[in-house]
Structures are given as C-alpha cells and as structure tokens.
Amino acid sequence: MTKLKAWFKTIIFYEILVGMKATLSHLLHYKPITLQYPHEKRALPDNYRGMLALLRYDDGTEKCVGCDLCEAACPSRVIRVVSAEVPGEPTKRYSKEYYMDMTRCLFCGMCVDACPVDALGMTREFEWAVYDKRQLHLNKEQLLAIGDRSFPVREKRLELQHPNVAFFNVSFGHVPQKPN
C-alpha cells in the first residue's frame, strides 16, 4: 500500500506540486522584504558604528590631547597622530596633525574605547563611497568637520582644564567638506 502510495505520488509529481504551492502562496501573500535603498533607508541600530570623527567641547576647543593611544589601539593602523606641545605651555599637549586612512578602517571602535578624553566618536554616517581613494585619507580638519555635523550637542568643558588650549582651533569654516 505504501509502495502504491509512493508510486502515485511520483506519478502526479507530488513534491513538485508542494513546491509550486509554496511559491504560489508567496505570490498571493506578497509582502516584500526589500528596502528601496536610496529612496528609503533602514533604521540604524543605536550602537551603529559608522564614520569616525573628532569631537570638540562646547566652547569650540578640540578634545584631543595628542596622547597617541588611539594609534596604539588601532588594529589596522588607520590612525596617525603627530603630537606637539601647546606653544607657551609645556605641560599641555595637543595633536598637531591627525590623519585617518579610512580605506583600511574596519570600524571596530577600539580607538573610541581607547581615548581617555572621549575625543573620538563614531557617527551614523555610512554613505562614504568616493570615486578617488585619496578622498578617504582624512586629515584633522576633515575629521573635526565630520564631528561638527554629526554631534551638534557638545560636551561641556570641565572647569579644571585650561582654556588656553583653545587658541589654535577656533573654527574651521574653510575645511574641506565630505565629497558629494
């Protein structure tokens, strides 16, 4: 009997009919999971790790103290920091130059964790496709500009920090913007 049943199932293409029923039910209960990407964008998770940025305090002074810890933490050697003394204040240091090679960055967030003064942040930007790779070699001004546009609410500068650090970075209206 079971043999007859199996034979009958073979004759009427039972397995194929089951499969076709499945595809037809998907057609009838059409509910696409597609997101029409450039027109509609998905909601990013809260802890999304996007483009890296350098941050400032609320008075416009940059947070970075040039300690090189991010450079040490980075697993793919994205970051290069040139640290220097604040002129006239031998106890203070800042990052004279700060480069990121975003072609190598794997967005692990270790530099953000390593930073002792929370000077690095990960924004929610991810549309950084460019035609020229060199546009992904970012300097300090560009990184600060990204931070400025992504983190409008800045941390308040603590009282015990010396305000003199602020004199070399007042505003960066001339910095290159993100290429469109």
């Binding site: 194929i16 499945a22 595809t23 998907h26 057609l27 059409y30 509910k31 696409p32 999971i33 029409q36």
Partner: protein, 356 residues
C-alpha cells in the same frame, strides 16, 4: 492593383500585426518574468524605471541597442553573426500558422482574407516542429563559433537536450493528430469547439491528459527554461551558449528564447486547450446578439490560455532547481518517451474502437 500585389499587401499587413503583437508580448514577458519571480521570492522586481518599473523593457532594449558589439578573438565571425539570426527567425516564423481567432473570412477587393491566421497550411504543426528544430542550430552554432569552452559546452548540451525532447513533443501531439485527423492547426482548433469537454485534454474517447503533461514538460525543456536550462546554466557555464554575445546579438538570442516560449504556449493552447474556443459552447457575445464581435471574445480566450502557460513557465522557474545532466537524459528517454508512445497506442485503440 493586381490581385497578387493585393494579396502580398494583406499578408504583409498580417505579418506586421502578428510580429508587433509577438514583440510586444516578449517585452511584457521580460518584465513579467522578473516581476513574478520577484514576487514569488518576496522581492519587488524592477522598480526604478517608470512607475513600478513598467518601463524596464524599454530601458533594457535601449541598453542592449547601444552596447558594444564584441566578437571574441578566434571566433568564426560569419557563424558568430549568423547564429543569433538562425535562433530568432525560426522562433518568429512559427507564428505564421497559429490561429489566434475564429476563421471568419471576408472579401476585400475581390480576395478572401482570413484575419486571424496568416496562412492556414495543411501541415501547420509539422511546419512549427521543423522550424523549432532549425532553431536548435542557432544555439549550437552560436556555442561553437564563440571559441569559448563554456559556449561550446552549452551548445553541446543544447544539441543533446533539444533532440531528446523534440522527440517527446512530436510524439505527444500525435495523439491529438489521431483524434483530429489533421495537421492544420486551424482544423485542430475548430474540432475542439463546443465547451471544454471537447478540448483534447479532456475529450472522449481518449483524453490526452498524459500527452498534455508530456508536452508541457518537453516544451519547457525545448525552450531551455528552468528546470531544464542546462545549455545556459549560469552557475556552471557562465551563460552557456551566449556567454560571448553582447549587444544586439545577445538581444536576438533573448528574443528568440521568449518568442519560443510564446510559440510553445500558443501551440499548447491550440492543440490541447481548444485554442480560441471558449470553455462553454459558443460565445457570450453571440448569445446576447453581438455575433459580429464574437471574435474579440475568442481572441481573449486564446490570450488567456497562452498567458496561463507563460505564467506556468515563470512559476516553474521560481520553484524548481536545475536538473543534473544524467537526470535530464534519463527523464527524457526513460519516462517521457514511454508515456508518449503508450499514449499513442491507447489513443489509436480508443479511436479505432469508438470512431466518431
């Protein structure tokens, strides 16, 4: 105007109309396939060009038209150029004998015009089968002339597959020919009028349901569609026989594939499902007194049947994976062929015992 030139003009007008409809159908099919496939896989299909992507075929056509026409190094240039034409022409030429509507005749300047069939030749179905076989040459030559191993393998597979399954197509329709007693598609269709119980799938004394199943499966195989798309198996042979083709030559192969789909759908509708006959006796328009417009209803039924088959093609493509090569051969020779032969024997005996 002489009678000959008038006949020529009428024929050319009919050919132009049928070609236009077929090309339009091919355009619709390219979009419909992607849409239906997408819907069945919880996707959307093309959405960018025009509202809901309905202008996608036009965009595709323009893209193919302006693409660079590449002939690979070492290719046989003559054969390489000939193959797409050899594939496309037989696919389109078969529509000459398909009856799209009832055989109303009317007089036009002294000659008789049959508006819904280009030419009612008495070996209609044989003519279609013969040209379908020639279409296989286009694929084989295209594969050979490309000077590429993938194309050659695709062409060889296509040769074996088309020969195996054309046999089954031919044998499957023999039962219908025995019942109808004619090879002309017009006569075969007319013999099925008067309700769906007269269609040859269900018709007594010998329902051709097995022949119908064999025909549908073999037609899928003959048009190189999934699950029998071994000649162009993209996961094994890049794109099979048209790996090296680009631009308009690729478009010709593409049109040939879809025109073949339309052709086998039309033949299936005409031979097994009563062609332009409605599934009830007569037509509704005739019953309400609009007999002169009954052809519109008949053409609508033909279109519905053909499109149901085309939908089945998409449905199968969305459902089934590709057969292995030995499975394909085994299925064709050991399963389909005996069923088709047995159907001929049964039909012959039934027709002999219960002559109509």
């Amino acid at each position: 105007m002489t009678e000959l030139s008038l006949r020529l003009a009428v024929s050319l007008a009919q050919i132009a109309a049928v070609m236009g409809v077929v090309m339009l159908t091919v355009m619709i099919l390219t979009l419909a396939e992607r849409k239906v496939l997408g819907w069945m896989q919880d996707r959307m299909g093309p959405m960018e060009v025009g509202p809901y992507g309905i202008l996608q075929p036009i965009a595709d056509g323009l893209k193919l038209f302006f693409k660079e026409d590449i002939v690979p190094a070492g290719a046989n240039k003559f054969m390489f150029s000939l193959a797409p034409i050899l594939a496309m022409v037989p696919a389109l030429i078969g529509f000459a004998v398909i009856p799209f509507g009832p055989s109303n005749k009317f007089e036009l300047f002294g000659i008789t015009v049959e508006p819904f069939v280009i030419s009612d030749i008495n070996i209609g179905i044989l003519y279609i089968l013969a040209f379908a076989s020639i279409g296989a040459y286009g694929i084989i030559l295209g594969g050979w002339a490309s000077n590429s191993k993938y194309s050659l393998l695709g062409g060889l597979r296509s040769a074996a597959q088309v020969i195996s399954y054309e046999l089954n197509v031919g044998l499957a329709i023999v039962g219908v020919l025995i019942l109808a007693g004619s090879l002309s598609l017009v006569k075969i269709t007319e013999a099925q009028s008067g309700g769906f119980w007269h269609w040859y799938v269900f018709a007594l004394p010998a329902p051709q349901i097995f022949a119908f199943v064999v025909y549908v499966i073999s037609a899928v195989a003959e048009t190189n569609r999934v699950p029998f798309d071994l000649p162009e198996a993209e996961s094994e042979l890049v794109a099979g026989f048209f790996t090296e083709y680009s631009g308009m030559r690729f478009a010709f192969f593409f049109i040939a594939e879809y025109a073949n789909m339309v052709l086998v759908s039309c033949v299936a509708a005409a031979m097994f499902l009563g062609g332009w006959n409605a599934p009830y006796p007569g037509t509704i328009l005739e019953h309400v007194g609009l007999g002169q417009f009954a052809w519109a209803e008949n053409i609508a039924w033909f279109t519905v049947k053909a499109y149901l088959f085309l939908f089945l093609f998409f449905w199968l493509r969305a459902t089934l994976p590709r057969l292995r090569y030995d499975q394909l051969m085994k299925f064709g020779w050991k399963v389909m062929l005996p069923i088709a032969l047995g159907n001929i024997v049964v039909t012959s005996i039934a027709v002999y015992l219960f002559p109509r």
